[in-house]
């Protein structure tokens, strides 16, 4: 008894101290990333303040104004660029997902280890090469005297090289190539985790292979499609290097405008364009998020 009583205060002390440490630990771990986030938010706020400054060449004047916003929002030129940006990102997203699905499907089926390693290396190689090198590579391949056109002009109905670079097409091809792994990855994990036997169950219930795909495999892998599309869209809408190098100045997107204006030291307009780009991406994210929730609704406890 006496031992028990003596031991009690000590235990109580310990139990008082422990929760404090335990409660503080997660926050301590958050400090480094918290500092980075803080810097980021501060920079964003600073950028936001620039959008309300007048453009007077070099110096930022300490005057508040809505002129830059008005200038941007009332100009059909800027709106057409917003639309072209969204259009490019949408087409790239669609093409990437359409290519990624069969790719992931085949990758999951491959049983041969060596073959699957080779496939993964080919698929993920764009991520290992510098974006500039990659873009120049595509310029060589797709140029008027490039490899692709050398093949194309041999076709009987094509007489002169097809324009594949310095336009929308070239940018799309290069972006799809770079972004493909980002769409394949989430699909791989979803396809690998398809519940066991559901495809067999569908076949057993009379579904021929294409119906098994349409009614079971595809709907069950939709979350992977949406996640992949979300990542690809976000990256495509703000892509700059590829757009500039393969667009040759002819493909005008928000990212390029931001760069141009800031190099011209037009900080207020550049800042407005930054925010328009960010809002565009956020709206897209929200739409994808809504889609994902609709797919998942009630199906998991």
């Amino acid at each position: 008894m006496s031992v028990g009583v003596g031991a009690r205060p000590g235990r109580r002390l310990e139990s008082k101290r422990r929760p404090l440490v335990r409660a503080a630990l997660p926050f301590l771990l958050l400090v480094p990333s918290g500092l980075v986030m803080l810097l980021f938010v501060a920079a964003l706020l600073l950028l936001l303040s620039y959008t309300f400054r007048p453009y007077t060449s070099i110096v930022i004047e300490p005057v508040w104004t809505l002129d830059t916003w008005k200038h941007f929002l009332t100009s059909s030129f800027y709106w057409s660029i917003v639309i072209e940006t969204v259009e490019l990102a949408s087409i790239v997203t669609l093409a990437t997902v359409l290519l990624a699905y069969p790719t992931a499907w085949v990758l999951v089926q491959i049983r041969n280890r060596a073959l699957s390693v080779v496939c993964y290396i080919v698929l993920f190689s764009p991520l290992l090469v510098s974006v500039v090198v990659r873009s120049y590579g595509w310029l060589l391949l797709l140029g008027d005297h490039g490899f692709v056109n050398a093949l194309l002009v041999r076709l009987p109905w094509i007489h002169s090289p097809v324009r594949l670079v310095f336009n929308f097409t070239g940018v799309t091809i290069a972006l799809v190539h770079i972004l493909l792994p980002f769409a394949v990855f989430p699909l791989l994990s979803v396809l690998r985790q398809l519940p066991p036997n559901v495809r067999e169950a569908a076949a057993d219930l009379g579904a021929p292979p294409w119906q098994v795909f349409l009614r079971v495999s595809l709907p069950l892998s939709l979350p992977g499609v949406v996640t992949g599309a979300q990542i690809v869209f976000t990256l495509a809408v703000s892509a700059w290097v590829t757009t500039v190098l393969l667009g040759g100045g002819r493909v005008l997107v928000l990212a390029k405008l931001v760069y141009d204006n800031i190099s011209n030291l037009n900080w207020p307009l550049g800042a407005v364009e930054c925010f328009v780009l960010m809002v565009t991406a956020l709206i897209a994210l929200a739409i994808f998020g809504r889609l994902n929730r609709a797919i998942y609704a009630g199906k998991e406890t």
Partner: protein
């Protein structure tokens, strides 16, 4: 189409079917004839080939050799989606992206059954499995037993010629499993469909099946009704896999009509045997614990043919008392008595072990081929 005489009686026929996976023989030359409307079980320990056999009937595996006939037609080359069979999977394999009614309607939609007809049949199925009112639930919102019922309804709604069930109750707890066994049996009775049920649980097979095939190492050991297999096992494996038994190695000493005298060590016993036995032949005797009788040896007088033995252990098991009797040679036999039916014998005392000619049967195979205890689990 030529129908062989008597062929109409059988829904599923397997003729010398084998299945190899690479060098591994999963199913080894089995032949089976399953009657129309029968509740038939494939029973055996894991890895005995029972699931592979079921998957060959459903079309998910192609036999390496032999023929499978469903309704008189050879179906070796018919893919699963064109077979008149439906399967209830071990992991259920319900569609998580569909609600209960869409899960059940899946097969009917594929077959383009009219909408009103689908609604009627789905409602009827939900009624049958006791899930009326659950139409709009998602699969993830159901309990294990409810998911079980959906899986059964999803298969049965297609009115298959044969319903295949691959250990569908394995994941349920004991109480629910027993309840589902009764319900399955009742459903089968009502719809009259041929059920082929795969299980490793002999109690489950006995409780539900009209007939069953006991499988071991890819082969069929014996086919018969529950009482057939329990009372007249043909092999040591069947005798030990179904229920509990004592296996004794002996030698035939003589035959008198249908009675055979067997020598087990220094003991003798008389068995009624249906097959002829030659004198001197090595035999294996199987005796169920509840068929043996014990009496105290303290009264003196040796009853005719009784074995004088020592009572090594007494365990009270609730409804029964389990005696472990050590016979000459050291082997221990189990003897079961209903609790309270007679005066309890004491551990260590001398007892007499009585054999009547129907207490034991001769079985084929060696004692080493008996089902091991861990295989029974």
């Amino acid at each position: 189409m030529t129908v062989q005489p008597g062929a109409g009686e059988f829904e599923v026929v397997l003729e010398q079917v084998s299945k190899l996976f690479g060098p591994t023989v999963a199913v080894d030359d089995i032949s089976l004839a399953i009657r129309r409307g029968e509740f038939f079980s494939l029973l055996g320990p894991s890895g005995c080939g029972k699931s592979t056999t079921l998957r060959m009937i459903s079309g998910f595996e192609r036999p390496t050799a032999g023929q499978i006939k469903i309704g008189g037609q050879v179906v070796n080359d018919v893919p699963p989606h064109r077979r008149g069979t439906n399967m209830v999977f071990q992991q259920l394999a319900l569609f998580p992206h569909l609600d209960v009614q869409d899960n059940i309607a899946f097969g009917l939609r594929i077959k383009r059954v009219a909408r009103s007809e689908i609604r009627k049949r789905v409602a009827g199925m939900l009624e049958l499995v006791g899930l009326a009112g659950y139409e709009k639930r998602w699969i993830a919102q159901l309990s294990g037993g409810q998911q079980q019922r959906v899986a059964i309804a999803r298969a049965l709604v297609n009115e298959p010629a044969v319903l295949l069930l691959d250990e569908p109750l394995g994941a349920l707890d004991l109480k629910l499993r027993q309840q589902m066994q009764r319900e399955l049996k009742a459903i089968q009775h009502r719809v009259g469909t041929t059920f082929i049920y795969v299980t490793h649980d002999q109690g489950e097979a006995l409780a539900m099946s009209d007939r069953m095939a006991v499988m071991n190492l890819g082969r069929i050991e014996q086919v018969g009704s529950g009482p057939d297999l329990y009372l007249r096992p043909l092999t040591t494996f069947v005798a030990s896999f179904i229920g509990e038994t004592n296996l004794l190695a002996g030698r035939a000493e003589g035959q008198d009509g249908e009675f055979v005298t067997i020598a087990v060590g220094e003991h003798r016993l008389l068995i009624r045997s249906r097959q002829p036995v030659s004198v001197g032949q090595e035999v294996t005797v199987s005796a169920r614990p509840e068929r043996l009788k014990l009496s105290s040896a303290e009264g003196g007088g040796t009853a005719n043919g009784a074995w004088r033995s020592r009572l090594a252990e007494v365990s009270f098991l609730g409804n029964t008392i389990r005696y472990e009797v050590e016979i000459a040679g050291g082997q221990r036999l189990h003897v079961d008595r209903l609790a309270g039916s007679e005066a309890t014998l004491q551990t260590g005392q001398e007892v007499l072990l009585h054999w009547d000619p129907d207490a034991a049967v001769l079985v084929g195979g060696r004692i080493e081929d008996a089902a091991l205890a861990e295989e029974l689990e």
